[in-house]
């Protein structure tokens, strides 16, 4: 999944990303005996394949990194963060996700969303803050549970 996010940053297109990553996996499968570090290898393979597929115009990726021998750790971290967020959005309740995307992706104001869905602005606000809490929280879940437990100790 992080690999997909990584590829997506380069290609900017989900279909291309899917094909690229799948092919990279299959190609790697055939030479697992030659690979020492699978993770590093996969990131490298996917990067090169994605660049080839995207045609040298990476939309959300620093092309200066494209020439390096290895994929920098920060890029790997970014892709893992992206993957966490994607999964978190996936796990949001239907309604919540809808409202959240309308705000963050479509840039609609709370007011407009409320009108569109025929609900109160307060509801919109609640849903979005719930969503954000979940999205942030998934990254550092242990921290949140620790804080929650404190009163009981």
């Amino acid at each position: 999944m992080p690999l997909c996010m990584f590829a997506l940053r380069i290609t900017g297109d989900i279909e291309t990303t899917r094909d690229t990553v799948q092919n990279a996996f299959i190609a790697a499968w055939e030479r697992t005996d030659q690979i020492d570090n699978l993770k590093a290898y996969m990131y490298l393979a996917v990067r090169n394949a994605a660049i080839a597929a995207a045609g040298h115009t990476a939309r959300h990726y620093d092309m200066a990194h494209a020439e390096l021998d290895d994929v920098p750790q920060e890029d790997i971290d970014t892709s893992e963060r992206d993957a966490r967020l994607w999964k978190a959005i996936d796990s949001l309740p239907e309604r919540c996700r809808e409202i959240f995307l309308m705000s963050k992706r479509d840039g609609m104001s709370y007011h407009d969303i409320a009108l569109e869905l025929d609900i109160s602005e307060k509801t919109v606000e609640n849903q979005i803050s719930k969503a954000l809490k979940k999205l942030r929280g998934d990254g550092s879940l242990s921290g949140y549970t620790y804080i929650w437990l404190l009163p009981f100790l």
């Binding site: 999944m1 989900i14 967020l85």
Partner: protein, 156 residues
């Protein structure tokens, strides 16, 4: 950290599509479906094979037609009467009765036997009249023969 979060968020939100990137499906699915197809075809093959075996073993005994001794003789046998194979059984039967029975069952004529003949026969036999007579002759030391005028009717 906050900037990175925001950056990631805006990127993901922009491209997010529900169900577009199911992680496990990407790599496992082709193999899983192939494995499923292989397993299904093997299972099917086993069922077909066992069905064939079953049909063959059940079918075999039926090919030989076994006739009961009490069944009336067939009216028009395709082969010569003495060649028709029948199953016949004698239990301590006097020779005269044996001959009578053979004539009835096989629709043939046999060397007549005196009614006071004391020879008795116990035999279960399956075969044609000619062979049967040969066997009886061997067992009892008799000399029964098929007469060349086969019986046209079943009456005796």
């Amino acid at each position: 950290m906050k900037d990175k979060f925001e950056e990631s968020l805006s990127f993901v939100v922009r491209y997010y599509k529900r169900g577009a990137l199911r992680p496990t499906m990407l790599f496992v699915a082709p193999n899983r479906w192939r494995r499923l197809a292989v397993a299904a075809s093997i299972g099917f093959g086993i069922i077909v094979a066992s069905a064939c075996v079953y049909l063959l073993t059940v079918h075999e005994p039926v090919t030989d037609s076994i006739q009961d001794t009490t069944a009336p003789v067939a009216s028009t046998p395709a082969e010569a009467p003495e060649k028709v194979s029948r199953r016949i059984k004698f239990d301590d039967a006097p020779l005269a009765d044996v001959v009578e029975e053979i004539e009835k069952v096989y629709g043939v004529k046999v060397t007549p036997v005196a009614d006071n003949d004391t020879t008795r026969l116990t035999l279960s036999y399956e075969g044609n009249a000619a062979d049967l007579l040969d066997t009886i002759n061997e067992l009892l030391g008799t000399d029964l023969k098929l007469e060349n005028t086969p019986k046209a009717d079943t009456e005796k």
